[in-house]
Subunit: 423 residues, 2 copies
């Protein structure tokens, strides 16, 4: 045995071990239909993190958390002073989410590092696996708070007053979370706190779109991420008795919402169907059947790969709403603004070369979803790799990638990380 | 003193006592802006009922509750076997309700009976003050469950499975309520259980519309109630990732709701502005900003005084929704169906004569809101009296009638009840 050639990191990846870990994680917050509902900074989130930490410590990784709850698992290279290669994703899910979005990027990072260790592959730079806080924005909007704070895109206290649907502030939830993890070593916010920047960032994720499956590709080499802008529209009218108030005298917030969304639909019309426009969240007050609504809040999620369209249509949202609404006071607040980004050629090539060397078919494609990787782009050479997912379904219990597809992704990740860690 | 002429019941009404009682009641469930949020079958509801019961027992009325929680306070006449005159209203409020809707009809009944007793007015029939369960339908839809069950319009177990926004069933809430009031004497459901019918039913209420105030009238002699139909529309689509799913491939329940309500607005257009059409409650699932909605439920509250319009437009609701919706499965459920009713001439005249004899100005008008009185019409000669309310505002903390306006209403109620109790 001692005389055999050391296996490659890719060959040391275990398909079964990775799948078993994913299925164990999927039990934490399981919902009917094989889905997962695991919101950030909840007891379920912490249970998942403890499970991950246990696996990491069992193979000798060191654990630390930063002030916004980002969790780091570190494998040392031959040069402890070298800037690390960072990989990872997030562990929170949508309320009606699946078993792979986010969590696979973290588990794949662990699998890749474990394979590098078990294969005895020598690397110079440390590799750190990160689980970013609140990527989804399902409990506290917007998403990507952990990566935005860590990278310095926004100060870490930006979202202190943001509340979840139960009225709990992000600040309160984070404090409770920190108290529950008081035994874990702390670290600083990294570049946001003036700390060293990583050498590279590479994030693995399911595609969340249909292209890799449709074109029978194994690995997506991600070229960039389309831009996203999130808005909250608040319409304040006046409540009244549904049986007595004449329609002509009402200030009905629901009817003004209909006018506003109809006008936004016209603004966002795109015959090429590249533009993404979604009203996914609506709150009505008092929300009883026989009272005219005096308050409606609804969200806008608008995305486009072209910066000019993103800016032009996004900037037109407020005036479009104001022009359509008849009776209500209008407030439009932009909650999230991320321009399109392009990923680094070195990282893209590292992914493509690793895949090709393993006989896997690759496709270069942009990401429709945003990811924590977006906020690493100004910090260091950054990239992502995708694996196919069934019918492109995501943010849904039906989300699925096979053990084989996910193992291929982990093998490519392991090889690419090893390559970048020796650069 | 013993030789003086006995005062009339109207003269024995105390404006201050009635106002003080209303203001004490308004503290139970008080919300900002002088509003009240007191949902049926809650601890607050029971606190209000105990306060009322204390006042009633202090003047010698007997107390009983029926199986659906309707509360009765009885004043005996000279003939205990005679069919009683029934008066009252409800004590629950809208979630963002005012201090007078419903509760004044109960307090006015108590004030009127107390005035009849204190004036020594001889009456033959018993007078019973009733507080009906769940008139508003704010916690459990539809409203008027207590009066519907008591009158036999619907079996008392019809709504057992109806849930409140927290998932509590009506049956559970009622059981808990009965346990909390186990010390109160029980009575049967009345006509629904084959019991005796009342001789008359007369309900006092604030107008909840602008006419009495605008025409400077003291008392509304209510001629009838417009018809009401309530529907729940459920649209089932498919959730998807807001950043990746092309709009052309989505089954977006929010967008289908926009189509449905737009088509319903067209169906319900009425240049005369007599028709009342309200979408007041909307639920969206999963209700996060970056997921396409897979489920929307919204309510329709539709009312019209003309039976033909009520039937024609109401019957067209389902097809209108189906014709407008593009992608979702549609379910339309009718939750409430009450045809327009006309009130009895004898009761209308009793109100009008009592008001005129006291020098008050009256207006005959229909009710835009529905009331428990609606379900008494098939049971016995029935009527209502209105007092003005400021700007017609109701179902709102700004709801207001003055102590003087309410005292005038109680004086007319007392005189009319005494007259009907001797018929």
């Amino acid at each position: 045995m001692s005389n055999s050639v050391a296996p490659t990191p890719g060959a040391a990846v275990s398909q079964d071990r990775q799948w078993d870990r994913l299925m164990q994680m999927a039990e934490i917050g399981a919902i009917p239909g094989e889905g997962v509902n695991r919101a950030c900074l909840t007891p379920l989130d912490r249970e998942a993190r403890r499970l991950l930490i246990g696996w990491a410590q069992a193979i000798g990784l060191s654990v630390s958390v930063d002030p916004i709850g980002n969790l780091f698992l570190r494998h040392e290279g031959s040069d402890p002073e070298a800037a690390p290669v960072l990989t990872g994703s997030h562990m929170d899910t949508q309320p009606n989410g699946g078993r792979f979005d986010g969590i696979w990027g973290v588990i794949a990072g662990l699998e890749a590092v474990q394979a590098i260790r078990e294969s005895g592959t020598p690397i110079q730079r440390p590799i750190e696996i990160v689980a970013w806080t609140n990527e989804e924005g399902g409990r506290f909007a917007p998403g990507c708070m952990g990566s935005m704070a860590w990278s310095g895109d926004k100060p870490a206290n930006t979202w202190d007053a943001v509340t979840d649907p139960q009225g709990v502030t992000f600040k309160q939830a984070l404090l409770e979370h920190q108290q529950a993890e008081a035994d874990l070593p702390r670290r600083t916010l990294g570049p946001a706190a003036g700390g060293p920047k990583p050498a590279f960032y590479l994030e693995a994720h399911i595609e969340q779109g249909p292209r890799l499956e449709a074109e029978e590709m194994d690995i997506g080499v991600v070229t960039g991420i389309q831009g996203s802008r999130w808005f909250v529209v608040e319409l304040r009218g006046e409540t009244a008795h549904a049986g007595t108030a004449p329609l002509g005298l009402r200030k009905d917030a629901v009817q003004d919402m209909i006018r506003a969304i109809t006008a936004l639909n016209a603004l966002m019309t795109d015959p090429q169907d590249v533009l993404r426009f979604t009203v996914g969240r609506i709150e009505v007050s008092p929300n009883t059947s026989n009272s005219v609504a005096d308050l409606v809040r609804f969200t806008i999620d608008f995305r486009h790969p072209d910066k000019d369209v993103l800016l032009m249509n996004g900037d037109a949202v407020e005036n479009t709403v104001r022009g359509a609404v008849k009776h209500c006071e209008v407030t439009v607040t932009e909650r999230f603004h991320a321009l399109p980004v392009e990923f680094d050629a070195v990282v893209q090539n590292a992914v493509e070369d690793a895949a090709t060397a393993q006989g896997l078919k690759t496709l270069r494609l942009p990401s429709g979803a945003f990811h924590d990787a977006q906020f690493m782009v100004p910090i260091c050479p950054t990239g992502m790799l995708f694996v196919p997912c069934r019918k492109g379904i995501s943010h849904n219990p039906a989300e699925y990638s096979s053990p084989e597809q996910l193992a291929a992704g982990a093998r490519v990740l392991a090889a690419a990380l090893a390559e970048l860690a020796n650069r």
